[in-house]
Structure formats: structure tokens, C-alpha cells
Point group: D2
Chain length 438, copies 4
């Protein structure tokens, strides 16, 4: 197979003074940050669907980008061409991982057995490429949103027959994930929710979803899958309301159904913001519950009410993201670029510009987060802030020796408490700006 | 004491043809709906704070309504005047319950012992009034948001001394709630959240909050409180982010800390909508978890991003609310009007207009919900929708006999599933409109 | 040609007690309301694109509804089948008008001359149908969003060549609109806005858009088009920011460029709500500027941040819509159902259910708006509210005789003004509920 | 009078390596940027209301910060203390301008003559301070929102008597603004809008507002006011809907009533974002209409639906703001910090931290905007992007020689247009990040 991006060479680190748009300004893979190389700290992944399948169509317009790669769409030739181009693209960017849906890899046949045969064939080819390049599989997932049979939900469908197709797809993608050595398996329940409560039994649907997840864990462990299962929360779109609304909701669901030992969360920035939370918030909620597993790295537009999947560019956000990841001790998955070019960015170069933008933004995030930690002022402030719980009445509270009566008596004796110290938000924000811009 | 609303007589049901603004058009207390009187089906409550304390000030403007009731604010005379006026108001409207914060009842003294003495005095007076009128206490709560000492949170404060004052207030209000025979005790954590993650340890704060709730349960049960504790979720305001974001989040929190046996939820419509959910959604989530306890009845303005606490007027919403309540088997609390007049509605008559609007809106909601249930088309549609799980492969799924392998084999044999039946949302919405408008 | 909806008969008014889902419960075409038949008061239109072309695909899923109508998509056979089915559909519903884009009617050819030839052919066929059925054209418009050439805007494109194609399409659709006797011509600038200010010259783009509109007016008037041109405001989607953000912005634009004599607005409910306004607000703003021309009748979901184009079901909204229309003296266009079935509502019956829902909702809106006007309490309240401007100092203000000095002197003499009367919002909302639900 | 901030010295530039929280890290007043000193490029202003009057109360809580400055609130002593503290504060920060409402300066008396006398007295005192310090008045405005008489609007009030009080206040503040040499006079119509359309005649109210503005211009010009009048748009809060919704709406209003020669806009970041626009958007809309006059410098929280008035910290936003200002040729007003500390930031130091944060953020914004301009890549990209309009068919379009017919003929000959060039958004965003972070 010939080179597809034949006019684009491997993207190199050239530093911020370079005017070469096809170079990294901040991402320097071998540079050591906090004791590891950037490459290790930033396990980037390419999302098969956006990078190799998305051609810029939107609900009001046709495709702008050509993703045929010289083959006829809907054929196994095209499937192979995507493999070729995808690996060339990852190599040129220095990306070590990819993520996939079944539907990204091959055209779906009318018969599931034929679809599965195609999946076997293409994954053989992918395995070959993986061996040659050293590129690895971050995670796999089944596309349970596109096919019309899932119009009323996948595991939440009102049709038991449809539910069986869900099971069949999940089983197959688990097989493939193991075959490709994937680190994780993701559930994004794009149709697991409702359009109207007038026709929906939420409890019944949630039980069915949990049931499927339980079966997936059982099957996965049986076939030797040792990685994490992930839920990727999203509040809505395409459905009016999706059950895995946000991190807190998904964690509650996992605990309620006893799935929290096998599952972690895959947090997407744009999904968090659609749910009314900052990216950092949903990362923190996941982390303090021991469930921060992987990240769909992108960013939304807070003025727009749908999932825009912009390539990450906001360094405030990437810094806080990397700060949370470092504090949590890292990810079991990685940073998957679930991001797409804007529709008018339709050229081959644009494909690279998007990744360069985001890889540089996360590199800056890593550098700045490391600086925050080394600087220490933010962490110290927080530590000192709660020190009144370290001894005396505070320690009685945290050690659960206190009662309402004992605390009330203490308060009565105190007369009136001193005001707690200032929150100093503006001072802390100045520290952040100083760290970011110097 | 003399009559305050001396030109306003007891509000009576006069039916929809009446042009008397000071009459009910739909709320007919003794009318039987679904086997009970409207009065029983609709346990309305007056919120002390809005009805008797709120005078229309907002962040950009001073009070418009006179709530001095002939006494000097900040005195026990004023506290008693509020009791007098409140009971007159409830009697004239036929409201059977009230809800209160400690801070609504008496002016806070600089010494907590003196504040508690005042609370004892005023609740003696309230008890007298309750005996005379038959009006009851729905629930009590401690105001843990207003005092500057709570600027960094109440049970989530970084100051252990402040935490003791929280405990002292909660203890006292539990005492008072028992004294007044209240059916419930509410936690609304208006300051339990954060302004910025730069200075916040969420995990530590949440542990402390749960700790306080545990102590409250222990103390409450010890002093003979047999009612429900309630969490009232709200996503934000005044804080940037409040921990009890929505029903799902609060339920997850309660289960995580083992508080779910003693707690239920008090769902406020406007809080649900600020969190991105319909009122009905948060009612349903509560109900399917067995946690629908009580309701703060109001409505928000979906074009405004803050808690507007409008008196409920939207009959679509009150209908779906009453439908959920009936389906859940009723409330352990009631329908508390956590609602206030718009700022330019500042007269004595306006106080009545607000309640009349909302009581009529919930009466219509009850009538229409009963009609929905008696009509049966909505319920039948839902029941039939999931029937494929009643036997065959569906029953194997719900009985947990199925595995990914067995379901996958079934799917392979099926070839392709039939599309599930239409969701028929538009047809169902037509049924709702026909029920509402005929 | 054979009947397509062969199991569905003409939809008749059967009243609210009918359980026949394929009947009108409230829309009784010949019933007289405010001196005219409902049919006259409610000039409904079918949108070619949603009714005949939309098959339920969304950004995450494939088509669920079959809109091939027995012909191969992309052929003139299919174009003709859509005409046949569309007219059958309109006749069975009693819809008198249709609206169209060029791209809805025929498949676009690679050569614009061939596309235009196809348009000539299909409109000949449509004309025949119009003569037979008496159905009329409400308005036409050019699809300037779908083709990739418009990715950077249509009249706001940075490419002058692309601009010429815009001109060519607008010219052709003006020709067709005149040919079909259309009452109006609509501009919806779906791509007339920006994705990022980093690459955009707003002023230049707005000048170009206005320039095109001016040419369209000149050409239209030259070929005998006597109807209204309309702008249809929308704030965003697909673009990050669309220039015709809302009614106020579009009116400002039209006046700035001297286009306000030939243009009115086509207000879409869901577009207004996406801009942060109620439907009624944008209708009122249009009406008080003499620019309320036509309506894209649908409704959004205020919990969702994109254009959902639900069929209208909310009778509060349809009532206020009809109230504004009646007060404004009617529309020059009509009520075009720019609405689509939810994706899981994919059957032939669902096509009818959507229209029945919305036609009944607007029929109720008309009935209730008429009742509001006949009742008179709302209108009287407003009239009396401003009466202080009818004489004395008030009349000096409105007649522009007053100066700051004269008014200031008056104020100084007054001492302090009486508070203005209560806004009485809750009382007015009770009147509305009484009118709606009795 | 003694020093109030006696432990805080004049804030100096110490550069980003300084750990002194009471120093500037980036704002170096005498440093030359684009040919002028930073001090000249950044005409900062202190808002009397936030800095000297706001004490941290919110709708759910009492004041946290002590702004009595050793005097009894509601007295002229307190009014003078605010002057003393305000000038000390401005001097220590190196702020050259202040902005004020009448109500910020003195306590309002029940008699307007007495209020005006107090205003005369305090402005005498302020004038003295101005002479000593060289500090100047940026603009004045009348507080037309707080007093209950304005509950139904100020110039939009339904009471003609109330309107006269508006006129009296505006007249007086114009007098004072001239007396203090203010550069501008601002209208922020916080109550100029509606709570419900059920009681509102928008047209009548808008006419009255415009009428007042006309009188203000006539009076101002008569007494020698040569500065700009400004409208400050805001979409809502406290009202449900405010007439000056955003820049485009306010500009349309000014042009409609012939006020656009005397008025410009005062754009507030947080108001723009509440209206659904980026700060940069409303700056650009103002600029291309020749109406960018002054700025209320702050930032909102896009996850919160009310006006939070954070001190600006986001350097992306300050950079784009300064870029627009420089491109527009500067402001006629300045950068007024309409910003307040977060409620838990209640100390004297916090007052300084807030200003330091924002002054540094705008200093960075200036430095980075200058770098953008000197770098040239963004500007060149835009310029080249539209070059097809520079000659040939493009020039015929912009020179208005073209017609639909001529352009259509051109298109027909062209066959199909080449796709316009890529929008390259991701590449441009990389350039911005490189400029910001190197």
C-alpha cells in the first residue's frame, strides 16, 4: 500500500518559535516531566470513527471531507484502506493507541454472521499492523446507536429481540478487544434513555441495562479480559435524557447494581459540560470514587447546546485535567481524541492540525500541572484550609466520636465562632495565571 | 390580636365561571377524586419564609412588600405577628400545613442560647395556634445558609467550630420539629458545595456532611422523631456547585453513606429544572428508588438561570406531578409552596392570588392525572410496549438466565430483528391534550 | 398513481370524546371563530422537507422511516412520487398550503442547468396537482446549507464563485415561486454566520448578504413577485453564530440596509427559544415593528440545546401565538409545520399523528385566544395600567413637550411618588388558566 | 483622615517570579506596548458600587465583608469615608478612573431635594480628592433599579409620576458628571423590560425609554456635556426580559429612534455571555457599527445563569478583548471593573487580590493581543480569505454592479465552483496558543 499523506512527513517537535504549522510547538515526546517522558504521561489515542470515518456532514449539510481513501465506501477494500491510512496517520503523529467501534471497522452486513466474519478479517489485518508499528489498542466498543433497530434503546429497548442483538454485538467486540489486547471496553449508552416519559418505564429499562453489563463482565472475565469496563456518561443527545447523565449518576448506578468493582468511568469533556459541570468536576468526582479510568479528550463550546467535539485547545482546561490525572495516580486507559475537525476544515492537513492543536494543548496542560504541583501553593492552601479538623473538636467530628449533643454543647460554650478564613479565590486564580503565563 | 387581612374573607370554591379573583376556580376541597377528597390528595403547606418573611427584595432592588405586620422587624413582637398573620392566612386559604426554618421564626441573637430561648417561646405560641386551628407542621429545617459563618459551607465548612454551630442548629430544630409534631426534617445544603475547586477537598467535605446527617438521624430517633429525613437537591445557587445536584446524585450519596433507610427526597420543581431535568423526571427517579417523600411546589422559568420560585401555574407540569405522586402511592410529606410573588406583586391580595393560582393549578393537575389514569390509554401503551419481555427469550433475560453467548446465538439465528414498534410520542401527546382540554 | 396511505381515510373532526387517533379532536375546519372559519384563521402549510424527505436520521443514527414511496431515491420518479404522496397527504389532512426548498423537489444534478430543468419539470407536475386540488404554495426558498460549497457560508461565503451559485439558486426559486403563485419567499441563513472569529470579517459578510437580498428584491419585483420576502431568524446551528440571531437582530439588519419595506419575518418557535426568547416574545417584537409575516410552527424542548422541531403540542404557547397573530391582524404567509416526527415515530400513521397533534393544538390555541379577547380582562388590565400617560404630566411626556428640567421640577414638587399599582402577574395567570381549562 | 489599608502599601510590578500576592506580575504601568504605556492602553476604572458598597450579601445570605469603613451606614460620614477609602484604594492600585451611581455616593433621602443636596456636598469632596490625586471620573449613571418605585420599570414604568423621578435623577447625575468632568454617561436599564407579557405594552414602553434618552441628550448637550452616552446591554436579571438584550438589539434600538449619533455601547462581558454571545462577539458587533465606547470589565461563569461579575481572569478572553479594542482604535471610555469579590473573599487583602488578578489579566491580554498583531498570521489569513472579491466577478458583486441574472449566468457557465479554501480553525487556534504560551 502506498503513502496516503504523501506530502506530510512525520510531525516533529520544533518548539514555539517554529512557524511550521505541521510541527509540535509544545509536545516533545521524550521530554521528562515529573519523572516520566511526555509520551508516557500522555497516552494519546486516535478515535477510529472521527479520524477515519467522519467526513464533516451535519444535520444540515453533506460531507465536505473525502474519507474514501481511494476505495469505494461500504467495501472491505475501504475497510482496509482505513487501516492503512489510520496507521500511517498515527505513526506520523506519534500516537500510540487507537479506539474503535465495530461499525467503524467494517460495513455492517444484513446478517450478523457475515458482519462478524468481516470483523475477524479486518482485525487480522489490524493485528499485523500493530505488530509492525507497536501501536496498541486502548479500548473497543459496540456501536449501539446507529442501526434503526436501536431507535428505542439498545439494552433499554422495549424489544427483547433487539436486546439479543445488543448482546451479540457486545460479545463480539469483547472478543475483538481481547484479540487486539485492548486495555478496556467502553459502554456509551447513546440511546439508553428516553424521548418521552409518556411511553417509558425507567426502572425496567435500567434493570435491563445493568443486566447486560453484568453478563458482559461475566463473559469478559471468562474469555480472559482483565482490563476495565468503562461507562462514558452523557446527559442527552441523541436522546432527550440519557440514563448515564454524568459521573455522579453513573457511579450511583454502578454501585446500585454491584458493578463498581469491574467498571470505571471514561469521562468526556464535552459530555461533562453538556451536563452542567466543568470537565474538572467530573474528573474529580470520578477520582474521589476511585473510578477515574480513561478520558475522551475534546472540548465543547459552552455557547452551544450539543456535542461539538472540538479538538481541545483551552489550556486552562487541559491543565486542570492533567492536574486531576496526576493527583489520581494516572489512568488505566488513556487520552482518546474523541474530536473532529470543524466542517470547513476538510483537507488532509486539517486532520493533522486538529491533532497537533490538541496534543500541544495537553502537553502544555501537563507542563503547567507539573508546575502547579512543584510550586505547591495551591496544594498547601487546601491542606491548611481544613486544619481545624486535625485536632480537638475537629478530630472528634472526623473520628465519629461526636454527637449532636456534644457538638451543640461545644457551640453553646463558644458563644460565636470566628468567621472561617477567606476563600481567597482571586488570589489563587492569580497564582494559576502566573503559572500558566510565565 | 386583630385580623390582618380584614378585607379578605375565607377563600371559597366558586368554580371556573366566577370572576371573583379571590375564589378558587378548580380547588374544591371536599370534592372526591380517586376515592379521597381533594384536601386529602393535596396536602398543601405554607412556607414560613416566603409567605411571611419575603418582601420582594432582589439583588438589584429593595423590598416592595410590607411584611412588618405592624411590628418592628427584629423583635419578638414581629415574630408573634408573623404567627398571627400566618395562621390567619392559612385558615383563609384552607391550608393545613406549614414548613419553617429556625431563622424564619425568630430573630437570631448573638448568643445561641438566647436564640434557642426565643425559639422555645415562639413555638409555644405556635403550638397554641395549632391546637386552636388544627393546622399542622409538615417539616422543619435549620437555616444554614444566611449567617456569614456559613460562607464556606455549613457541614462542609472548613472550620470545625462552624460545624459545631451547624450541629447545634440542627439539634434544636429537630427538638422543635418533634415538639410541633412535624412529619419530616429537611436538609437543603445551599452552601454545601464549592465556589472553586482551587480551594476545595470535595471528598473531605462530603464525608463531613454525611457524618452530620448520621448524627442527626441518631439524635432524632433518640428523641422520638419517627418521620422522614429529606434531602432537597439543588444543583447550584448560591454556590457554583452544590453536592446534592439532583435526585440521582442525592440518592447515590445517601446509599453510599448508608443513609437511605432514614432519608427520602424533597423534590423542588425549580431545582430540578435548574439541573437540566423536567420536574417529572426527578419525581420519577425518586419514586423508582422508593425515595419520593415530599415536594417543594413551585415552578421555574426555563429562560432564566436562577431559582425564580414562581407559584406553579403550568397545568402540564402539575398534571405530571400528580400522576407521579399517585403512581408512587402518595407522599410522606406534602406539597409545600416554596414560592414567592413576583416583586411587583406586593399587595395583601397578591399574597392570596399566588396561592390561589397554585392551589388551582394543582387541583387541575389532580383532576387531569385522575382522568389520565381512568382513561388508561397511556398506562396501557406502556404496559404493552414491553410485553416481549414477558415470555420466551425476553423472560430469560429478565430472570437472569441468559448469557451473552445464549443471546448472541439467538440473534444469529434470527437473522435480523423486526424494528420495535413506533414510540408514538405524537399520538400520546394528543391523548394528553385531549384529556387536559376537554 | 395509486393511493399511498391506502388504509388511512380523510381525517375528520370527531370531537374530544372520540378515541379514534386518526381524527381531529379540536380542529373543526368550518367552525366559526371570531367571525371566520377555523380554516381561514389557520392557514396551515406542509413543509416538503420534513413531511416528504425527512426519514428520521440523526447525527448518531440512520433513517428509521421509509420515505422512498416506492421509487428509487435520487431519481425524478422519486421526485414525482413525493408530489403524489404529498398532495394525497395534504388532502387527507385538509392542509391548503405547502412550502418548499429547491433541493426538496428534485435531486440536485452536477450541472445547475440540469437541476433547473428538473425543477421546471417537477413544478409543471406540481402545478397540475395544484389545479386539481386547490392546494396552494405558501412560500419557496433555496437550500443554501446542504451543498459542501456553502461550508463557509452562502451569501457570506468567502468565495465569489460560490456567491454566484447562491444568486443562481435564489433566482431560480424566485422564478418557481412566481410560477406556483407563492405568497412569499424565505431566506433562512443557516450557514450565514461564523464558526470562529479567528477567520471572519463580519462586516464584509453582512454587506454581501444584504447585497444579495437587495438583488433578490429587484429581480423578484421585476418578474412580478408581489409577495413578501421573509427572513427567518435563528441564533445558531449549524453555525456557531448566525447573523439573523433573533427577531430584534434581523429587524435591525433589515432597517440598516434599507430592506425593511420588502421584508417581513418568518418566526419559528424553536429558533426563538434557542435564542433565549419565548415564542410569544419574538412574535411581539415582529408585530410591533410591522414585520410579523409568517410562522414556522413547531416547538422546541427547552431542556435541549438544538433545534428539535417537535410538532407543537403546548397549548399555552399556541394560545399566545394565536393571540399575537389576531392582535397583529393576521399573517401575510401562514402556519407552516416546520416539524418532524420523533425518530422512533416512523410509521405512516405517525406522519398523520404529528399533524393532528399540531393542528389540534393550534385549533385550541385559536379557540382560547378568541376567548381571551372576548373575556377582555387581560386587555383591559393592560389598557388601564398605562392610563397615567393619558393626561397631565403623562401626556406631556408622550407628546414630547416635556424636558428633563420640567419633569425634574414636577418630581421635586411631588415629594415622593406613590408606588405604581401591582403587576398582578399571579392573578393574570389565574385568568389564563381559567380560560384554558374551562 | 487616616489610612484605611494601613498594612498594605502601593501595589508594584514585581514580575511573574514574585511570590508576593500583593504585587503585579504582568501589569507594568510604564512599559511600552504598541507605542504607548500600558497605563495609557489600559484606562482602568474602579466601580464605586462593587468596590466600596458591596459587602458580599447574596439572595441566600448576609454580608460577609465589612464596608462600613469605621462609619455608620446611611450617614454622610459613611459617604465621606467611602471617598477616603476609595481614593486610597485607587492610589494604591494605580487606578486612574472611577465610575459611580448616584445611590453609591450618598444615602437616598425621602426628599429628592435633600438627596441632591447630599450629592452636591459629596461631589465637592470628591472634586477635592480628584485635584489632589489626579484621579478622574470615567462615567456616571443614575441608579434606576433599587428603589421600589422602579419595580415596574424606570423610563418604562407604567406610572408617569415615577417617570418624572427618573428624569430628575438622570438630570442630576448629568449635572454631576459634568461637574466631575466625566467622559461618559451610562444607561443600564436593569428594570427596563418585563416580567410577563400578560401585563406589558412593549411598544409603549420602548417609546418612553427612547423619549427619555432624547431628553437626556438635549439636556446634556445644553449643559456642556460633550462626552458619549452609553447603553449597557443585558438580556435579563433582574427582569425576565430586558429591552437592551445585547449589542445588536441595542444598536437597532438606537438607530430606530435616531439616537445613534450621541450614543455608543458600554459592553459588559458577563452580560454578553448571559445573552448567549462571547464577549468578543458583542465587542465586534459594537465595533463594526462604530459604537464600541466603553467596557464593563469582568467575566461570568458559563455554568451559571446569573450575573456573577467575577474579576476577569481568563486570558483568552482578555486577549480577544484587547485585540478588538486595538483594532477599533481604542475606547472613548475605559475598562471599568464592574466586578466583585466572591462572597467568601471578604478581607481587605481580597479587595486588592481581585483588582490585581484582573489588572494582570488585562495586561496579559494587551501583551498577547499586541503579539497577535505583530505576528500577523491571523490578520493575513483573514485578508487573504476574502481575496476573490477583490477583482473579477467578486468586484462586480461588492461594487453593486451585479444582478441575480448576471451572477446566475456566470454560475451556469462555471459548471461547478471549486470548494472554498479550508477554514483552518484548528491551525489558527494553534497559532493563538503558541502566542499565548510562549
Amino acid at each position: 500500500m502506498s503513502e496516503y499523506f504523501n506530502e506530510i512527513k512525520k510531525i516533529k517537535y520544533e518548539g514555539p518559535t517554529s512557524k511550521n504549522a505541521l510541527s509540535f510547538k509544545f509536545y516533545d515526546p521524550e521530554k521528562i516531566v515529573l519523572g516520566k517522558t511526555m509520551k508516557e504521561q500522555l497516552p494519546f489515542g486516535m478515535a477510529w470513527w472521527h479520524a477515519l470515518c467522519n467526513s464533516g456532514s451535519d444535520i444540515f449539510g453533506a460531507a465536505t471531507a473525502d474519507k474514501t481513501f481511494g476505495a469505494a465506501p461500504g467495501t472491505m477494500d475501504h475497510a482496509r484502506a482505513k487501516v492503512d491510512v489510520g496507521f500511517e496517520f498515527m505513526e506520523k503523529l506519534g500516537i500510540d493507541y487507537f479506539c474503535f467501534h465495530d461499525a467503524d471497522l467494517v460495513p455492517e452486513a444484513s446478517d450478523i454472521k457475515e458482519t462478524n466474519r468481516r470483523l475477524d478479517e479486518i482485525t487480522d489485518y489490524i493485528l499485523e499492523k500493530m505488530k509492525i508499528t507497536g501501536i496498541k489498542c486502548m479500548w473497543g466498543t459496540a456501536n449501539l446507536t446507529n442501526n434503526p433497530r436501536y431507535m428505542n434503546g439498545a439494552a433499554s429497548s422495549n424489544s427483547a429481540d433487539v436486546y439479543c442483538f445488543v448482546a451479540a454485538q457486545v460479545k463480539k467486540v469483547l472478543d475483538l478487544t481481547v484479540k487486539l489486547g485492548g486495555k478496556g471496553y467502553v459502554f456509551w449508552g447513546g440511546r439508553e434513555g428516553y424521548e418521552t416519559l409518556l411511553n417509558t418505564d425507567i426502572k425496567f429499562e435500567q434493570d435491563n441495562i445493568a443486566n447486560l453489563m453484568r453478563m458482559a463482565v461475566e463473559y469478559g472475565r471468562k474469555i480472559g479480559f482483565t482490563g476495565d469496563f468503562y461507562i462514558e456518561p452523557k446527559p442527552k443527545e441523541p436522546m432527550k435524557h440519557q440514563y448515564d447523565y454524568d459521573a455522579a449518576t453513573a457511579i450511583g448506578f454502578l454501585k446500585q447494581y454491584g458493578l463498581d468493582k469491574d467498571f470505571k468511568l471514561n469521562i468526556e469533556s464535552n459530555h461533562a459540560t453538556l451536563a452542567g459541570h466543568s470537565f474538572q468536576h467530573d474528573l474529580r468526582i470520578s477520582a474521589i470514587n476511585g473510578m477515574l479510568g480513561s478520558i475522551d479528550a475534546n472540548q465543547g463550546d459552552l455557547f452551544l447546546g450539543w456535542d461539538t467535539d472540538h479538538f481541545s485547545s483551552n489550556v486552562y482546561d487541559t491543565t486542570m485535567c492533567m492536574y486531576e490525572i496526576i493527583k489520581a495516580g494516572g489512568l488505566t486507559g488513556g487520552l482518546n481524541f474523541d474530536a473532529k475537525n470543524r466542517r470547513p476544515s476538510y483537507t488532509k492537513e486539517d486532520m493533522f492540525y486538529g491533532f497537533i492543536l490538541a496534543m500541544d494543548a495537553f502537553a502544555l496542560g501537563l507542563i503547567k500541572a507539573a508546575k502547579m504541583i512543584e510550586d505547591g501553593r495551591i496544594d498547601s492552601f487546601i491542606q491548611e484550609r481544613y486544619q481545624s479538623y486535625g485536632s480537638g473538636i475537629g478530630a472528634e467530628i472526623t473520628s465519629k466520636k461526636a454527637t449532636l449533643e456534644s457538638l451543640s454543647a461545644y457551640a453553646e460554650n463558644l458563644g460565636a465562632p470566628a468567621l472561617p478564613g477567606s476563600g481567597s479565590q482571586e488570589m489563587l486564580e492569580s497564582i494559576i495565571n502566573t503559572i500558566l503565563f510565565s
